[in-house]
């Protein structure tokens, strides 16, 4: 891009501050040349219209002995004659205690309006160059810090080892950088969290960044389609669907019509986990199983989703039937569910497992129930074998353990 165009666009139109380093990086020119471009631009624009563009300058050289105003100074007492110090231990004669006079050079940043004043503080000036141009005078020079930081973030993908020469950086022949992963880029915008971001190689990312706009919506649909492909549970593919499901989960749950042909990742998971169980679970449940079998798959999906949401909402692992009147405790269909999140390459998640729990009811009977609880798991450990359907075994003598058990189970639920 033409330098003048770039500057006109950024400084005059966008009213941004351009430093010689951001210019050098943007146009891939030598820093020294960038300084000259800025100077030229500043001069030309102000010739057209005075004060339309302001600049800051770097002055380097040796300052007069006066203290520069901004360094909260300490008396520049290098030359001060040392008084006999009370701190000197007598056993420590100091042969050369007087501090040496030390050459003090300064590199000072000044606004264009202060340039002459600033120059006056120098005893000898070795160089002056433009540091930045901006449309108006900067009230606070520290604002330039932000420009510098933006620059480093914006051009972070340029490898300094390759581009340094172009920018005019001092080269080092001996630099040792570990090969392998390139240093991670400064946090990319979180909005386009893509599954690809887990890929260790950063090279393609750089390309993506420029194309990120059109691609934004793509990953989601990608994940959905691939999730769909794993709709029928197949063990090896499971991991993949989990991975995507975790991304899908990050999004707010979309109210999905039951007819939707593409189940979201979660539904896939549920489906996957629950289908077989339901078949073997429901026979125990006298009144429910036939209807469940009759239910269409979609209805089941919807119900399971609802169930899932309920679970998530109140944290209770299962829903209990409040059938206080039924003499036998209704065996609850227990789903083994998994929620998986991907953290730093390791998959963590929780899964619902059946645990035996023994409670003593008010009459002193021991009631053992199987309850679904959540436990954390990682991908490495194999999923525990799926338990047999939850059957309440009311152990104890006496006539009516069941009824009391069911009440207990209702209140005992957490």
């Amino acid at each position: 891009m033409d330098a003048t165009m770039y500057l006109a666009e950024n400084v005059l139109n966008e009213r941004r501050t351009v430093t010689y380093r951001s210019l050098s990086r943007a146009l891939k020119v030598h820093a020294h040349q960038a300084k000259q471009i800025l100077f030229e631009f500043h001069r030309n624009e102000n010739a057209k219209k005075p004060q339309s563009v302001r600049a800051t300058y770097i002055i380097s050289g040796i300052q007069k002995h006066a203290e520069p105003p901004t360094t909260n100074g300490h008396a520049n007492d290098e030359d001060e004659i040392m008084q006999s110090s009370p701190y000197l231990p007598s056993s420590m004669p100091n042969q050369d205690a007087a501090s040496d006079t030390v050459r003090l050079s300064s590199i000072i940043l000044a606004r264009d309006e202060d340039l002459e004043d600033a120059k006056a503080t120098f005893q000898s000036i070795s160089t002056i160059h433009v540091y930045s141009v901006q449309p108006s005078t900067l009230p606070d020079l520290n604002a330039l810090t932000d420009v510098c930081r933006e620059t480093t973030t914006a051009y972070a993908q340029d490898d300094p080892l390759e581009c340094g020469k172009q920018w005019g950086m001092i080269q080092n022949r001996n630099v040792k950088r570990r090969n392998g992963a390139r240093p991670p880029l400064p946090a990319a915008p979180v909005s386009n969290a893509k599954p690809e971001s887990t890929v260790p190689s950063k090279r393609p990312f750089q390309r993506e960044k420029s194309e990120s706009q059109p691609e934004d919506s793509k990953p989601a649909s990608d994940s959905q389609s691939s999730a769909k492909s794993t709709g029928k549970p197949a063990a090896p593919k499971r991991e993949k669907s989990n991975l995507f499901s975790s991304f899908a989960k990050a999004k707010p749950p979309k109210p999905k019509p039951a007819e939707s042909a593409t189940p979201s990742g979660n539904d896939v998971m549920l489906d996957d986990a629950s289908e077989e169980e339901q078949e073997e679970l429901f026979p125990d449940n006298g009144d429910k199983a036939p209807s469940a079998n009759r239910e269409s798959k979609k209805d089941r999906e919807e119900k399971l989703k609802k169930m899932m949401e309920d679970d998530d909402a109140d944290g209770a692992p299962t829903r209990a039937h409040s059938g206080g009147a039924t003499p036998t405790t209704p065996a609850k269909p227990a789903e083994l569910k998994e929620e998986v999140t991907v953290q730093g390459g390791r998959r963590r998640g929780k899964r619902q497992v059946m645990k035996k729990r023994t409670v003593k009811d008010e009459e002193g009977y021991l009631v053992t129930r199987e309850e679904a609880t959540w436990e954390s798991c990682s991908e490495d450990e194999p999923a525990p074998p799926k338990k047999k359907p939850a059957v309440n075994v009311a152990r104890g003598k006496g006539g009516k353990p069941g009824g009391q058990g069911s009440i207990m189970s209702f209140f005992g639920k957490k």
Partner: protein, 542 residues
């Protein structure tokens, strides 16, 4: 705008080809004196007393040698100065000298026993300017201690001599009628043996030494900076950006040639701003009650932890590392352990700069590579360009300063007095005590070393630097010429290598306050300062 001179840059762009500038290579051999054992080998159950015994055992011979040379033949009023082995063997009224560890009891010194009895040991004691009570100077007691016991020291000499807990000295005097030891004279171990330049390269391999020497022929400079104080906010000084530009050669005093001579940057602590940890600490104590109410959160909590300072530090390092090797020491404000020796800032906190680290040590590979970016301990010692460097981020000097007796005619406690001269004296005293952190473990938190006291200076460095000081100071000290029996003190150069010992002391200012970068020439050890700043012009005056 018509300028008479264009300085090369105040002119229209030219199509000049700029020759690439190459930085001089750096010869760098760090020592791992202060590296603590890893993991389960690091124990904190030991007694601190062992450190004092180790120190005394190590330094006693050195002091006694000096003292014997000075007092061996000494006779006062017909009485021969007798050497006493243990401080409790001193006889009343008898002229003698003895060796031991100084212990100073000061009214405001934090006392772990007091803290325990008052049960206020849970939080760190508030930092004090001095441990002495200015209203009652006599409350300060100086004692000498060895394996056998303690004896109280008195005498006019002590009021003019500054000592600190942990220093090993020899004292000449007599015991008075009330059991105190009246000191007439004091001797210290004085500077340790100083290695020759390039000494360690020789030990490693003759080839590498030769390479190093050849590589760094010609002029080079070592850059020191401390107290970058990055807070991550936009109120950070622009000076850091100017420093980056300078180190990378974009902005130079005489083009980029002068910056290209800088072979290494040493960052001596406190790279992060005070607000980061100070706020957290104050929040921990003041709002303890408030915090209890808040639900407990584990892991990353963006509301309680601000990652921006360390990110900015990482960016700064990643920016300069392609061009210049960096040695990073932690300081008291940095995310490292508090007790000395602080271990290096973990590379995981610097994800971008990490690529320039040495590869992580693999189990069987004992021969560790030195990283281009080296996150080292504090204190740290090592060889740079053949010179032995010893540096600390400033805790050692700050703490010894608290032991010093400020003159009564001081300008008042509110005004920050210029104690930079005193700080330089302390640094010198440390070298002469051969003890770099004398007040550890008494008033500086320290790892309880069992087998070796690394704070004893076994060898005398060529450059002894301290970071985070209020202002820049430098001086050169030389070893005391040992009094020769033949009275020939002029021929110092022929007296052996110890007489040639000279040390460059550097008190490195806080960059955040002063904007100063210290450059040390690798041939002459001459020092120069580059100051980065902004010119406060009309805008600030409004």
């Amino acid at each position: 705008m018509a300028t008479t001179e264009d300085y090369g840059f105040l002119r229209p762009p030219s199509n000049d080809e700029y020759e690439p500038v190459y930085r001089n290579p750096s010869s760098y051999h760090p020592l791992h004196t202060f590296r603590l054992p890893m993991g389960s080998d690091r124990h904190y159950q030991q007694q601190y007393g062992d450190m004092y015994f180790l120190r005394l055992a190590r330094l006693k011979p050195a002091v006694e040698q000096v003292a014997t040379a000075a007092w061996g033949e000494l006779t006062i009023a017909g009485e021969h100065a007798r050497r006493v082995d243990r401080v409790l063997d001193v006889r009343q009224g008898e002229l003698c000298w003895m060796t031991g560890t100084v212990y100073m009891d000061m009214p405001l010194k934090p006392n772990i026993l007091d803290d325990l009895t008052k049960e206020n040991f849970t939080s760190a004691p508030p930092p004090r300017r001095t441990y002495a009570d200015p209203s009652d100077p006599s409350a300060t007691q100086i004692m000498m201690e060895d394996e056998s016991g303690r004896v109280l020291l008195t005498g006019n000499l002590l009021s003019s001599t500054q000592l600190a807990t942990g220093a090993i000295i020899a004292a000449l005097g007599t015991e008075t009628s009330n059991g105190e030891f009246e000191v007439i004279d004091i001797k210290v171990p004085d500077l340790a043996r100083q290695p020759q330049r390039w000494e360690r390269g020789e030990a490693a391999s003759a080839d590498s030494k030769k390479d190093d020497k050849e590589a760094s022929n010609g002029q080079g400079k070592i850059a020191f900076v401390s107290g970058l104080g990055i807070t991550g906010s936009s109120s950070d000084t622009l000076a850091l950006e100017l420093l980056t530009d300078y180190l990378l050669g974009y902005t130079g005093i005489d083009g980029s040639e002068d910056a290209s001579k800088i072979t290494r940057l040493i960052i001596a602590g406190n790279s992060l701003g005070a607000s980061v940890t100070a706020e957290a600490a104050s929040a921990g104590t003041d709002n303890a009650a408030k915090k209890k109410l808040a639900p407990k959160k584990y892991g990353y909590d963006a509301s309680a932890y601000n990652s921006s300072p360390i990110t900015q530090l990482d960016n700064f390092l990643a920016e300069i590392l392609p061009s210049i090797p960096v040695t990073l020491m932690p300081g008291e404000q940095d995310p490292a352990n508090v007790s000395l020796p602080q271990q290096g800032i973990h590379r995981a906190m610097l994800p971008r700069a990490r690529a320039y680290c040495a590869p992580p040590p693999s189990g069987d590979n004992k021969e560790e590579d030195v990283g281009w970016f080296d996150s080292v301990t504090n204190p740290w010692e090592g060889d740079v360009e053949g010179w032995r460097l010893w540096g600390c981020s400033g805790q050692n000097v700050d703490d010894v300063l608290r032991y010093l007796d400020f003159p009564a005619d001081d300008s008042g406690p509110s005004i920050e007095r210029d104690d930079s001269e005193a700080r330089l004296r302390i640094m010198e005293a440390m070298l002469r005590w051969r003890c770099s952190v004398p007040t550890a473990p008494d008033t500086i938190w320290s790892y309880p070393f069992q087998t070796v006291d690394p704070f004893v200076l076994e060898t005398c460095p060529h450059i002894f630097f301290t970071g985070n000081q209020p202002s820049f100071k430098t001086t050169v000290i030389e070893a005391v010429v040992p009094p020769r029996l033949d009275g020939d003190t002029d021929m110092t150069d022929s007296a052996g290598e110890s007489s040639a010992t000279s040390v460059r002391l550097l008190s490195i200012p806080k960059f955040r306050d002063t904007g100063e970068l210290i450059l040390v020439d690798t041939e002459s050890l001459e020092v120069e300062v580059i100051r980065f700043g902004t010119f406060a012009g009309q805008e600030e005056k409004k």
